[in-house]
Symmetry: C2
């Protein structure tokens, strides 16, 4: 199954760019400081044929629109302070991820689907924490599984009190899988539901409603149907009150217009070239072609053509392309090209203007894309060679890599740090990549900024892994890529998921580490996905048959 | 495979009690403040037939002895301040878990084996942190995989510098699995090896030796063979210097002499009764039969017959019996019987005398057993009924349960807290079970001590989940146990592994959450355990064949 489906995916690649004018499943409505994202899933328009999207259930196509909507509200509508998520259906808020889609997907697609939807929900929380864009789940009907998990990512949850609408996490009892889109983690760690109540709730198919839902902290308030719209408006206004002002018009995110082929992707600043036989890809990121604007008004005028925004939007796009459309690529070689001085100047301008709302958005966008890189389950090897441009924000690529190789020759490549490496682009653990790299030697995290380091200096500073000279370079690089590509993709995924997240854990890392790792395990188990597994048999007359040994 | 092997396990149960006089694979040698645990595995004496234990590799039988040795040093040899772990073989320290054993074991056995060995290594670290018993790995030969992971659990690692002995984690490259006995986590989070070096190290089959091993922080020192014994003695002495004095002779851990049958286990204070058809077990813990001693000398004289020590040793034994010998039991009902006043007095005496080394050991032992309960992948339901004795330390069982039910009748059962519930018995997260329960409502963690609460009071205090009256009790309890036992054992394991560990993460919880969850996933993947998987084919002439899609 795995192989045939992954071929299907290659045959019909997923594209991640969209626009509100093309949304099928969501409507964005704007009214001053409040925007509404209305989920109204078109049953007959799933991303792939074969599963109707009944009862406001979602697939990747639905979530791609939601991710786009959140990004556009942040960039294009700075006046919006509250995003109300609600349903356009009668008596149904959202029934979660489509089960037939899950049941018929390959393991790797399921895992990547969950990762993407998790990232989308974290983007909502990121907007709340860093953009003054709060979110309110206006649960105007039944809310199950991934539907409730979406609510959990919001700042507030209002549930209609109509004697039937409940919130529920029926995954364990109905499907023998977990509420893996952050559900279990957010119930205990964000909403701080008592663990025994969380246990009762998470094993109760029918869910919890009314006063009990409030008492158990599952929702913030229940409101009778008649008062629901006015109470939602009231709560939205109250949430908006705490957000900061953002001056000026929004910045429109123009299309990237990448060129996609079997061999890779070509964007203006980012390209990927795939070697299918070797199962490797070469990802090249290019620096600015000229000096970038330095003042906030100039940067805002440049808009989505601003290098720092465009290059990371392009990077995001190719990372998603790699994840979903090229599942067999095991090693991604990270390269940069360009003029370090221009990148450092661009970084400096971003830091100097970070109080500006647009610049703030650009920085948080860069941060999110780099987190997406950290979470990309491919081996990442940075090559710092002749002509490379691993400076400042682009040096984060080398820091995110599992290893980096830097060419040691006279007048060879150099690297340099900028203020952006010092905490503006934190990883999911909350630490900067420098801090995380040097948890055993914190003094090294304070390496000087702006100074060009050659291979010897970079090696001494602990900023690169290996520094072969020009005699060894080709062989050593070829060998490491070949060797890496030959190892078990599963063992590497597990290894990287451990080594990349040293030190402190946060709710975010718990979602991707603990919760996702368990879910991935369950997604492999016959009790869920076997011929008589609960996920496989969902909706069919047969009952699931379980193997009973506990692990 | 899973089913046939689990039946084998039931047919030949594993016993966890042992004694140095019966050790097959380890020797304990005492010389004043330094003890040596010498690993000298007898190749022809595996726990189960079918895999010779070559090159000082270990199986569960080997690790049961190590766990016993650590416990005995702590209780029976208070004069020991340093435990030196070394090998009795020439040029081989330890080659890790036996691969043929892993390759031929069922999934649930592999997972439980790893959990147990992880707990044993954590016991070493616990001894260092709380008993003034430091540990030194004297690596006198090749040290691979689980062998190096054992070293990582020690305070210091000395590697012989003989031009051939290396430390290595070859799991990923040779076996397509992870160094899952804490290896990846301790490399980054304890030894704080830089993540790119950790990556290089963990994908390098042959390992790292000499100066590079020190530079990369993998070992603390390398020492030429000629100076190795004297340097080990020197370092042991230096480590011993920092340990506190412990007065008086040791306390011998006498045999428990449990009676084991197909239906369960009978100990003096703890019994388990299994209902095989229902896949449930009733675990009953009884309080002291008379008043317990109150002073440290009296407690020490009582020795291993002290209720608090004996009851938790018995509990430990039955938990391990459940895990390994009764894999199909899905729900464990936790009951207590006895006189609450006596338990509270015993708790009080422990707290009052916790500065005494023996009492300190008893408390940390209780803590470790309760952590073993937290990590037991069975649904735990506490029943607080007529005649129960959920007071103080025994109330931790109810707090560790996934849910608790308390009978609400006039003159019905009561519960009570003691000082032991307030941080003396922390979970792996570092929080007490009360703190963890009330992370959303911290004031409730300060519930009054000693006060007898009936069902209504306990419910109000948030200390129990549900409180049915005597009309509903039987039906409600029967229903919840039946329902729980009917759900997918995998989904429940994943759910419980998430809900039981709310809030902060520590290295310990990362090992069981992130690392183990990924390892369990890999232990299911065809690339490791399929017909052509690397673990399956280890030692055979065929090469593993991988499916390449990355997740």
């Amino acid at each position: 199954m795995e192989e045939s489906l992954s071929s299907t995916l290659v045959a019909a690649p997923v594209r991640f760019e969209t626009h509100p004018s093309r949304y099928v499943h969501w409507r964005l409505e704007f009214a001053g400081e409040v925007a509404r994202a209305v989920m109204d899933v078109q049953e007959d328009r799933p991303l792939r044929p074969g599963y109707p999207l009944k009862t406001n259930s979602y697939d990747l196509g639905v979530d791609i629109e939601l991710a786009d909507a959140i990004a556009r509200v942040r960039f294009e509508h700075p006046e919006v302070r509250v995003l109300v998520l609600t349903s356009g259906k009668d008596r149904i808020f959202c029934s979660g991820a489509n089960i037939y889609m899950l049941g018929s997907s390959s393991h790797s697609f399921k895992v990547n689907f969950c990762k993407y939807t998790n990232e989308t929900r974290l983007a909502l929380e990121d907007a709340s924490a860093h953009s003054g864009l709060k979110s309110l789940a206006a649960v105007n009907g039944a809310c199950a599984g991934g539907g409730y998990e979406l609510c959990l990512a919001c700042d507030e949850i209002l549930l209609v009190d109509d004697a039937s609408s409940a919130v529920s996490l029926p995954e364990v009892s109905l499907l023998a899988v977990l509420p893996g889109t952050g559900g279990l983690t957010r119930v205990t760690d964000k909403r701080k539901v008592r663990r025994d109540l969380a246990d009762a709730f998470s094993s109760l198919g029918e869910g919890v409603k009314g006063k009990r839902a409030v008492d158990w902290r599952l929702v913030d308030e229940t409101v009778p149907l008649s008062r629901f719209p006015s109470r939602v408006a009231e709560r939205a206004k109250a949430l908006a009150g705490s957000a900061p002002d953002k001056a000026g018009p929004g910045v429109v995110l123009l299309p990237l217009d990448g060129r996609y082929s079997d061999d890779g992707v070509e964007h203006r600043f980012v390209s990927v070239k795939v070697d299918e036989a070797a199962r490797t890809a070469r990802l090249t990121v290019r620096g600015p072609e000229a000096d970038e604007p330095a003042s906030a008004p100039d940067m805002r005028e440049r808009g989505s053509a601003l290098w720092a925004l465009r290059v990371f939007r392009e990077l995001d796009d190719v990372l998603l392309d790699l994840r979903f459309n090229r599942p067999e690529v095991g090693v991604v070689v990270l390269e940069t090209r360009g003029v370090a001085r221009r990148v450092l100047a661009s970084d400096e301008a971003l830091v100097a203007n970070r109080e500006d709302w647009f610049v703030n958005e650009v920085l948080h966008h860069m941060k999110r894309v780099l987190k997406r890189l950290d979470l990309t389950a491919r081996s990442l090897i940075a090559l710092i060679d002749e002509g490379s441009c691993f400076a400042g924000s682009l040096f984060e690529l080398a820091l995110a890599a599992d290893r980096s190789y830097m060419l040691a020759t006279e007048d060879g490549p150099t690297i340099a740090l900028s203020a952006l490496n010092r905490g503006c682009l934190p990883t999911a653990t909350g630490l900067s990549r420098l801090e995380q790299r040097f948890i055993g030697d914190p003094a090294k995290a304070a390496a000087p900024l702006g100074e060009a380091l050659d291979a010897e200096g970079a090696l001494r500073a602990g900023l690169v892994t290996f520094a072969p000279d020009d005699i060894d370079w080709d062989d050593e690089v070829r060998l490491v890529v070949e060797e890496r590509a030959s190892l078990s993709p599963d063992a590497l995924t597990g290894m990287e998921a451990n080594l990349r997240f040293a030190g402190a854990e946060t709710m975010e890392t718990k979602i991707f580490g603990r919760l996702s790792a368990w879910q991935n395990w369950i997604f492999q188990r016959p009790n869920a996905v076997g011929e008589r597994g609960a996920l496989t048999l969902y909706g069919k007359p047969e009952r699931a048959k379980f193997n009973w040994p506990r692990t």
